[in-house]
Each structure stands twice: as C-alpha cells, then as structure tokens.
C-alpha cells in the first residue's frame, strides 16, 4: 500500500488552494520545510510569511489578517500551536470566531526521534475544549487534501492535525469528505472501532484480522472530532453494543473521551479507549513507539476482545 505523510499532502493542498483563492495566505514559524508550507512560499512568495520562532505572534498576526478579510493558514508543530500559543488561539482567534486555520504537523508520538518535548499528546484535548473550534484529524493524504479544502470554505477557526510519518493511503480520490460526518470504513455488527487520524489504518488491519476469527468489526473513521458525528457514533453503539476508540493522542480529552461522553449520554455500552496512556513519549522510531505505547492493530484486537467479553 502506498504511504504518504499527511503533512506532505498538506503542502500540496495549500499550493492548490493558493491558486484557487487569492485571499489564502500562509504563515509558518521557522518550520516551513518540516510542515511543508515551503511549497506555498515558493509559489506565492508575497502571500507567505515566515514569522520566525515566534508562534504566539504568528497566531496573533493571523488574527489581524483574518480580521482584514484574508484566510490565513498557520503551521508549526502541534506542541507549539495549539500548545505554546494556546492563549492566542483562544482569545485572538476562537473567541472572535476569526477565519484562521491552524494546521499543526508532527502531532502525536510518531514524531519519533525528537522525543517527548516535540510529541504532542494533548493538542486535541486543548482545542476540543475551546468553543467555536472545528477539528479535523485526517487519516491519510487524500483526506488531508479534502480537509484543507473544506477548512477554507468554513467561515471560522479550524484546527487540522497532521503527522510527520508516512501512512497508508486509504481513500480513492473521489471519496466524499463531509465535515462533521464520520465515515463507515467497514461494516460490522459485533463491535465498532472508532478511530481517527493514522489509527484508522490500524483499525482496518485489526478488523481484517478479527474477521478471520469470525468477529465482525465495524470501523468508523471520525475525521472531524468537533463537531462530533453523534448520530453515527450512537448508531454504532446501538447496533454493535461494544466500542473501542483509537487515537494517537492521550486517552484523556481526545476522541476516546468524546466518544465515551456521547455513548454514556445516549446509549451506554462498554467502551475501551486505546491511545497514549496519559504519559509523555520518548525517542524512538515511529514504529517502535506505536508498539511500545500500545497503538498497533494487535492492541486494538485485544481491546475488541475485551469489550466483546464485557458486552456478553
């Protein structure tokens, strides 16, 4: 299967968007080569602003650009925005509902060798708790391109979470990306894995394996964490009566929390959250870290067995 990092797709999508819409401007904080905004900078130098190592000022400047009618896309690593520039995201962008897109790459532990200081395990939790925010966590390159297009059409603040590591391409080019609508990637009746971002691929692998044992697992791809597709999640709870969540993020405050809150309110069934178990990461290869922190298909399989038992 072909593998592309979502940040690569982001860089390409920005150039495409820049051609279509002259109001799109891009800001980066000295990481343009890593976040891939550099391609936009090459194509549209007058609409690209490197703000240096100053993420707070980057978001504040973006707020001013948006207030004057521009559509700024800001990029850095997720630890720095929302992380370092959280107050600017909150007060200068989200509160006045300004049309700023914060597209953070290097989210999660698959940052790899740089270690815990650069591995954001809490960004979804931070942004989720802020009113007015839309959150996209694309699963692959195709979804990333569509999320970028969708973000440009939304009049308001959007957070897009991107990864460093190459991940499998799951979608055909013509699939329909609807903000706020979860995608049923695979039908099943015994349990549902509700996954986001790069964990969708792991979920599909897990479902495939479990099918061999005769366990029919549904896979839901929640590319939009906020607003959450409550309807599709409740349907999965009602129809499969057992849920596993999967995210490359702390199990506190991210997709797992969002799903557990929703399921508890509407249709209580066993839920098991697979994610980073409330710890910081460390240096290692992305693959080693996914293994060590329990984010591989095998961990999802074990989790499905667990909820499957609880449901009986």
């Amino acid at each position: 299967m072909k593998k592309i990092a979502t940040r690569e797709a982001y860089g390409e999508a920005l150039v495409e968007l820049g051609r279509e819409n002259p109001d799109v401007v891009v800001l980066d904080a000295d990481l343009a080569k890593s976040t891939k905004t550099i391609d936009f900078g090459k194509h549209f130098p007058h609409r690209f602003f490197d703000m240096g190592v100053a993420e707070q000022n980057m978001l504040g400047t973006a707020a001013g650009l948006a207030a004057a009618g521009k559509i700024p896309f800001c990029s850095t690593f997720a630890v720095f925005a929302p992380g370092r520039a959280f107050d600017q995201l909150r007060n200068s962008i989200a509160y006045p509902r300004l049309n700023v897109k914060i597209c953070a790459s290097h989210a999660g532990i698959t940052v790899g060798e740089d270690g815990a200081s650069h591995q954001s395990v809490e960004d979804i939790a931070l942004v989720r708790a802020v009113p007015h925010m839309t959150i996209f966590v694309p699963a692959d390159a195709v979804e990333t391109r569509k999320a970028v297009q969708a973000a440009a059409k939304i009049k308001g603040p959007v957070y897009i979470r991107l990864g460093r590591a190459a991940v499998p391409v799951l979608h055909a080019e013509d699939f329909l990306f609807e903000p706020g609508k979860a995608l049923v990637m695979r039908q099943g009746n015994d349990a549902t894995i509700i996954a986001t971002g790069i964990m969708v691929a792991e979920a599909l692998t897990a479902a495939e394996e479990l099918a061999k044992e005769g366990v029919s697992v549904r896979v839901l791809n929640v590319h939009t964490i906020k607003p959450l597709d409550v309807e599709e999640i409740v349907r999965a709870a009602k129809e499969t009566r057992a849920i596993v969540t999967a995210e490359e993020h702390n199990i506190i405050g991210g997709l797992g929390s969002a799903v557990a809150e929703t399921v508890c309110e509407h249709c209580p069934v066993p839920v098991h959250r697979v994610g980073i178990p409330d710890v910081f990461g460390e240096s290692g290869t992305p693959d080693q870290l996914m293994e060590k922190y329990g984010l591989k298909a095998e961990h999802l399989i074990a989790a499905v067995r667990k909820v499957w038992e609880l449901k009986k």
């Binding site: 007058h46 000022n57 504040g60 400047t61 707020a63 001013g64 650009l65 004057a68 521009k70 200068s92």
Partner: protein, 280 residues
C-alpha cells in the same frame, strides 16, 4: 493647528473622561485609571487623526485602532459612542448581562471594535496582520495600536515588535501609555521596562517620546510618524494614571476599581469644573 480645534479636542477628552467615570460607577467595576491616562491619545485619534466613517464600520479603507490594553474598554467605548458608532445612552450598560459593552472589547458584539482584546500582549500582532493585509490589498489605511506599560512585559509584544520591523510595516503606529503603574505597583518595582525608548529603537522602530496629555504633541507626533518610511513607529507617551481626577491621579488602587457613587460625584464635579479651563 488652530487653537480653537485644540481646545475643542481637549474638551472632547474631558467629556470622554466624564463617560469613563459614569460608566465604571454604574458598572460597579472596571478600569478607570488606565482609561483616564490614555483619554487624550484616543480622543486625538478618533476625533482628529483617523480616517473613519461611523456609518460604515466595515469600510475597507478605514484606519484601524486596536486597544491592546483591553481593560481600558470604557475609554474605547466612550470614544466610539461619542463618535457615533452606537448610542451614547448605551454606555451605561457596560459590564451588564446582555450588553454589547463587554468587560473587555468584543469585536463581534460592538461595531467599531476592530479586534477582541483583553488578554494582554496580543494587539500589536493583530495590528501587524491588518497592516500586512493592507499591503497585500494595496490599501493605504493606517493601523494604530495602544499598548500599556505593564503590558509590554508580555514576551509576545517583542515578537510582534521584531516582526513589524522585519516586514517594514510603516503603516503601523503604536502608542505606549506610559503611566508608570500596574496592578501590583509601580512598573519600575514590579518589572522595569526601562530603558523603554531604547528598546523600541533597538527593535528597529522609529521612536518619539511625548507628553501624552498634550494634544498638540500627540497630533504632531502622529504627523511625524506618517512621514516615516520603511519602519513602524512607536510614540512613547508619558501619562498620569487616573489623569483628570485629582484623587485618582498616580494612585495604583484606581487601576481596577470603580468609583463609589460619592466618589463618582466628586470626580464628575472636578471634570465639570475643567470645562473651558484646559490650557491652550
């Protein structure tokens, strides 16, 4: 500049100060000290220096004013109301449930508020963004930003200062309301910002130091700033916290406390007595 216009502006500033006292007294909370200290600057901007049309608050070519020290909201609201952006009567709804006059400025609720502020240190960055947009769009509007002296202790201010010079934003003119007092005491004791003019010079700005209560100096400084090419401009305005009300002047306790009814009465009587007495 003719004497008559200066006297008119001085009197307008006095009216703005009167509103500030009435509003904070009615609200029972708010920030009179830093609103009074910057009243002359904001009056000069809204009633003489800025290109504005209150009937068209979203006019793309308007000059922008950003109150980075958002706690001086009563000052901004008084200027906007007096300038005709919304009814003057609405000023007394400050800080009340359902009011468009939020405790700190909310751009979504009130026409004329260019950006929401309140969390200190963020206004200059937003101003830079607007200035960059002006350049992209080929528009000649100017962005004015008012910073507090305590506020410039925020690191983000210096990120923005660096960026404005780097991008040669000569359409950005900032004022520092240098009243010397912040919540915990004198700025020099809490966290000195000196040498302040030299800091802005070192960051690549054109810097002027003026008396922030002298209408002529304020206007002349902006006229000088307009002629600067290739650099943003900082006008360090020496001011008195609580200016215009004797018992509030240079008193740190009036940073974030509203006058009680009898105090408001005294303050209003003092301001009324200043009518026509402003030195020309």
């Amino acid at each position: 500049m003719e004497q008559e216009k200066i006297a008119w502006l001085q009197n307008k500033a006095r009216e703005i100060r009167t509103h500030i006292i009435r509003m904070t007294a009615a609200a029972g909370s708010g920030h009179p000290g830093g609103s009074l200290s910057a009243a002359d600057i904001v009056t000069a901007l809204y009633f003489h220096l800025m290109r504005l049309d209150p009937q068209r608050p979203s006019w793309p070519d308007r000059d922008r004013f950003i109150l980075s020290k958002g706690h001086a909201a009563p000052l901004l609201y008084a200027a906007l109301a007096e300038r005709g952006f919304f009814p003057v009567e609405e000023l007394l709804t400050l800080r009340k449930l359902g009011s468009r006059l939020q405790g700190h400025p909310d751009m979504k609720s009130l026409p004329g508020v260019e950006i929401s502020t309140g969390s200190l240190g963020q206004g200059l960055s937003a101003g830079n963004g607007m200035a960059l947009a002006a350049r992209l769009d080929g528009r000649d509007y100017r962005v004015f930003v008012l910073l507090g002296d305590g506020e410039i202790q925020e690191g983000m201010v210096w990120e923005a200062a660096m960026a404005a010079a780097h991008y040669r934003l000569d359409n950005v003119t900032a004022f520092l309301d240098y009243n010397g007092l912040q919540i915990d005491g004198p700025v020099t004791e809490v966290m000195s910002v000196e040498p302040v003019a030299e800091k802005w010079v070192a960051f690549g700005w054109d810097v002027q130091v003026i008396d922030g209560h002298d209408m002529v100096q304020i206007i002349q400084a902006v006229e000088v700033a307009r002629q600067v090419r290739g650099r943003p401009q900082m006008i360090v305005a020496r001011t008195v916290k609580g200016k215009g009300v004797s018992f509030m002047e240079n008193q740190v306790n009036w940073h974030g406390a509203a006058p009680r009814p009898e105090e408001a009465e005294r303050a209003l009587a003092e301001l009324a007595a200043q009518a026509g007495l402003a030195p020309n």
